[in-house]
């Protein structure tokens, strides 16, 4: 049971750490926009710049 004397302080430290991370997340605006990230994930720039056959003039019909 002696391990409890160590585990309880350790758990306190962990809670403190998590609380700090949460507060940091709020401060840095992680909770500001609940809508935009859902869109931005669809628009990554790893699509090739020149996509042949995907040309603007062809899309008009």
């Amino acid at each position: 049971m002696d391990i409890v004397y160590l585990l309880i302080p350790v758990s306190l430290v962990f809670v403190g750490l998590i609380a700090w991370v949460l507060v940091w997340a709020v401060r840095s605006g992680q909770f500001d926009d609940m809508e935009g990230p859902a869109h931005s994930i669809l628009m990554d720039d790893d699509t090739p710049h020149v996509a042949p056959e995907h040309d603007a003039t062809e899309k008009k019909e």
């Binding site: 409890v4 605006g29 500001d32 926009d33 609940m34 699509t47 710049h49 008009k60």
Partner: protein, 832 residues
């Protein structure tokens, strides 16, 4: 995105970047994905080139709406340099360590998520920019940069280079306030949640373990205390603050019992921890605070949603607009809407929002007024048409002379009135407020009594039973019941096109038994239309129509307008007929020469004088105005004209009738006309030739029978009658909203909004009643249960939070009300 494939490449005669037509002779090509594309001007060419060169051409595939034509005015770029001056930066730039600066910018011309992507990429790629985040919902960008490596004006210029406008965001705005409030709430909630979870971890073994030594138990208690302190001092702080405020003002709010409950439980636990004996309640305290904060947080968001209508209206006005300072010269300048003045001439492109009230002086287009009137069909606008700020130009550019700006606009008046209505509490709400205050006082007395009784019976249970009672009661549900429902309902109604200007209006409308229409014009279009054409013999009706329209070509008389409109609408269109030597004989008719033959249009005697025949009798239908057409060789035909009921009048009245409301029609018009309208619409109670005094008497007589009268009028000429009614509704279409002295104002042309209004009012009434009943029932059950010791403090915390949340969510149902009767299909409305 897939629903608008044309957007990635507008047709070749349209500008590749902005979609406007490419003027003949313009040659501003750009190369995109191995194909030559044409743009309409140097600005668009530069922007498109910048985007493609930066490797961000994917934008043209992803975008879902066309951007505005870029404004690269030289003066404006120079003006951006002003933002580098420290004294100007002072107001909106946050100075961090060393050279790091942070500013909030508003981005304009953001039309879709692809714009956000483009801007984020582009700004982030600038050397010296440390971070950039753009909020899609609010269009606000937060940029951090190193002042030693880049100037703010360079960032703003970079944004302008890709066709957007960025300008500093005013930090004093409400939005920012809400954001901070929300972030604080999340932080408080997070701390309370973590504390709750961990304290529960320590508490559980002490409840279940049988072989725990005393020093481990003590260690757990101390650990719990350490975790509870931040929960009390940070998370629960608003409750103590609120309670302290209440005590100082000698009022009793809901924070007082909560603070008392938390405070006493905490102090007792601290004492037990130090003394080493007695009960601790850390788990209950933290859980209670967590549930309470969760309830408040959800409620805060729900309330914001319920009150979003006003904010949405305010947001309708754009931040910047295009002014034509030397109209009719076409040179443009971009200015903030705040600097617009009456008399300015502005250019509004398709897709842009009209920033102020004014009159069209050039161009023809359709405008969506849905946000203001609830009318979903676009309204046609041409020269001399009035336009209202906050509506959206749809099809082609409009040049507008501004007449009213800022606080004088129709939109500002609507917002003011709505604010007033939402801040006024009807009787039932005031009653609930007073009851809530008494309730708290009573509660404290009862709690003291219960505590005394339990002290005698079982002193060990006194504390948590007292805490439970204090916590479980929910006077806030009582206080929230009415305002939450009213805010949600008035917001929804405004979006449907019925503006509530008085707090009591909804309550009274819900109880109304009679609906009195004060004018024929409220039910009809108020203008003549051609209803019947009786051709003499076997003549072609279309030809007659064309002849009549030609004869009336120059006249602005209502009859002339109706005949011309009917002719223009005929299909297939008749061959154009031109009349010459037109002469107007006032009171009789018009005369003119067509293809060398003389024609007359007017009264039967006037026409008979030319036709030679004796005056023929008009067809037997006295509800119409009959006009005769004749030539030198005799009568040709008759035109029957009448004012027609609005397309949706019948369905609206049917819906109102179904709601059990008797409809009356009072009108100053002639008895026959009123009778015809009443018969067409199935109105049983009507009176024609009614003077204002007669109308007033009629309403008073109804009221003497105990009826509750709702009155519909135009809101300006009939103020006394409207004032006499229990609730008055003005048809504010086009009229001055601010002057209409009515409890409610119809903003759009649809009569069905009246039926919707009654339905929403009744539903609101029900919701308020449900909320009050719930608040009462909950407290009546919960307090005795707590007093008898059946409720632990954490259960009390859940109960109370759930109770107030339920009230707000119930009210929120009102904001999802679906309009009952869809508007009848009709061609685009034209108000000239």
């Amino acid at each position: 995105m897939s629903d608008s494939p044309g957007l990635s490449g507008a047709p070749s005669f349209c500008c590749f970047h902005c979609g406007l037509p490419v003027p003949p002779g313009a040659d501003y090509p750009v190369r995109f994905e191995n194909t030559e594309q044409h743009t309409c001007c140097r600005g668009c060419q530069a922007v498109a080139q910048t985007i493609i060169d930066a490797g961000q051409g994917a934008y043209y595939h992803h975008r879902t709406a066309l951007p505005a034509t870029p404004q690269l005015a030289v003066e404006e770029l120079k003006a951006l340099g002003l933002y580098d001056l420290p004294e100007i930066q002072e107001s909106f730039v946050k100075v961090e360590a060393d050279n790091v600066r942070e500013a909030a910018l508003i981005l304009e011309n953001i039309v879709c998520a692809a714009c956000i992507w483009l801007n984020e990429r582009h700004i982030a790629s600038l050397p010296g920019v440390l971070s950039v985040e753009i909020n899609y919902a609010t269009r606000r960008a937060r940029v951090r940069w190193d002042a030693a490596r880049i100037k703010l004006s360079d960032i703003l210029k970079a944004v302008a280079d890709i066709g957007y406008v960025a300008h500093p965001f005013d930090p004093g705005r409400q939005e920012e306030l809400f954001r901070r409030e929300r972030n604080t709430a999340i932080k408080r909630l997070a701390i309370a949640g973590l504390g709750m979870m961990q304290v529960m971890m320590y508490a559980l073994p002490t409840y279940t373990a049988t072989d725990m030594t005393d020093d481990i138990r003590a260690l757990m208690r101390w650990a719990s205390l350490v975790l509870t302190i931040p929960v009390i001092l940070y998370s629960a702080w608003p409750f103590f603050l609120g309670a302290w405020r209440d005590v100082k003002r000698r009022t009793l709010g809901m924070d007082v019992p909560v603070a008392l409950g938390i405070g006493s439980a905490f102090l007792a636990s601290v004492y037990a921890t130090f003394a080493g004996h007695g009960e601790v309640y850390y788990d209950s305290i933290t859980m209670f605070v967590f549930f309470l904060l969760t309830g408040r947080f959800l409620e805060m968001n729900a309330r914001r949603r319920a009150g979003a209508a006003v904010e949405e209206l305010v947001k309708l006005i754009p931040a910047a607009t295009t002014r034509l300072p030397r109209y009719p010269a076409r040179e443009e300048e971009k200015i903030p809407v705040a600097r617009l003045a009456a008399g300015d001439v502005i250019l509004v492109r398709p897709g842009e929002t009209i920033p102020a009230d004014g009159t069209v002086i050039d161009g023809a287009s359709t405008v969506s007024e849905a946000m203001l009137t609830g009318e979903s069909r676009p309204v046609g606008k041409q020269i001399d048409s009035p336009v209202v700020g906050g509506t959206i130009n749809q099809s082609s550019p409009l040049v507008i002379r501004v007449e009213k700006v800022g606080a004088d606009t129709r939109l500002a008046a609507i917002v003011r009135l709505l604010d007033r209505a939402q801040s006024e509490k009807p009787r039932i709400g005031q009653l609930a407020d007073r009851a809530a205050a008494w309730f708290v006082a009573l509660l404290l007395v009862v709690t003291a009594g219960v505590a005394a009784v339990w002290y005698v019976l079982d002193p060990s249970r006194v504390l948590w039973i007292t805490v439970s009672i204090l916590v479980v009661t929910c006077p806030c549900a009582l206080g929230l019941a009415t305002p939450a429902a009213l805010t949600a309902a008035t917001g929804r109604l405004t979006r449907l096109g019925l503006l509530t200007t008085r707090g009591h209006a909804l309550e009274t409308l819900a109880r109304a038994t009679d609906l009195v229409f004060d004018k024929t014009g409220t039910l009809t279009y108020g203008r003549l239309t051609l209803r019947r054409l009786v051709a003499d013999g076997d003549r072609d009706a279309r030809t007659l129509g064309a002849l009549a329209a030609a004869l009336e070509a120059g006249s602005e008389h209502p009859i002339a307008r109706a005949l011309r409109q009917a002719d223009a609408a005929a299909s297939p269109p008749p061959a154009p007929v031109i009349a010459s030597e037109l002469r107007n004989h006032p009171g009789l008719g018009v005369e003119g020469l067509i293809d060398g033959r003389r024609y007359r249009l007017g009264t039967s005697a006037f026409v008979a004088a030319l036709a030679g025949a004796s005056a023929a009798a008009p067809p037997a239908d006295e509800e119409m105005t009959w006009v005769a057409l004749g030539g030198e060789d005799g009568f040709l035909g008759w035109f029957g004209l009448a004012d027609s009921p609005r397309a949706d009048a019948a369905s609206a009245l049917k819906a109102i009738g179904r709601a059990g409301i008797t409809v009356h029609l009072l009108s100053g018009d002639g008895g026959k006309t009123v009778a015809a309208t009443a018969r067409q619409l199935g109105i049983a109670h009507w009176r024609g030739d009614a003077q204002p005094e007669a109308k007033l008497e009629y309403v008073k007589a109804l009221q003497a029978q105990g009826r509750i009268v709702a009155m519909v009028g135009d809101g300006i000429n009939d103020a006394p009658v409207l004032a006499a009614a229990a609730v008055s509704i003005a048809m504010g279409e086009g009229a001055d909203v601010a002057q209409a002295a009515a409890d409610m104002i119809m903003l759009g042309p649809r009569l069905t909004t009246l039926a919707d209004g009654i339905a929403v009012a009744r539903k609101t009434h029900r919701v308020i009643r449900q909320n009050l009943a719930w608040a009462l029932a909950y407290n009546l059950v919960a307090i005795p249960a707590a007093a008898l010791g059946y409720v632990t403090p954490w259960m009390a915390g859940i109960g109370m939070s759930a109770s107030s949340l339920l009230v707000v969510l119930n009210a929120l149902r009102l904001s999802d009300f679906k309009a009952g009767t869809p508007s009848d299909p009709e061609p685009i409305l034209v108000n000239a």
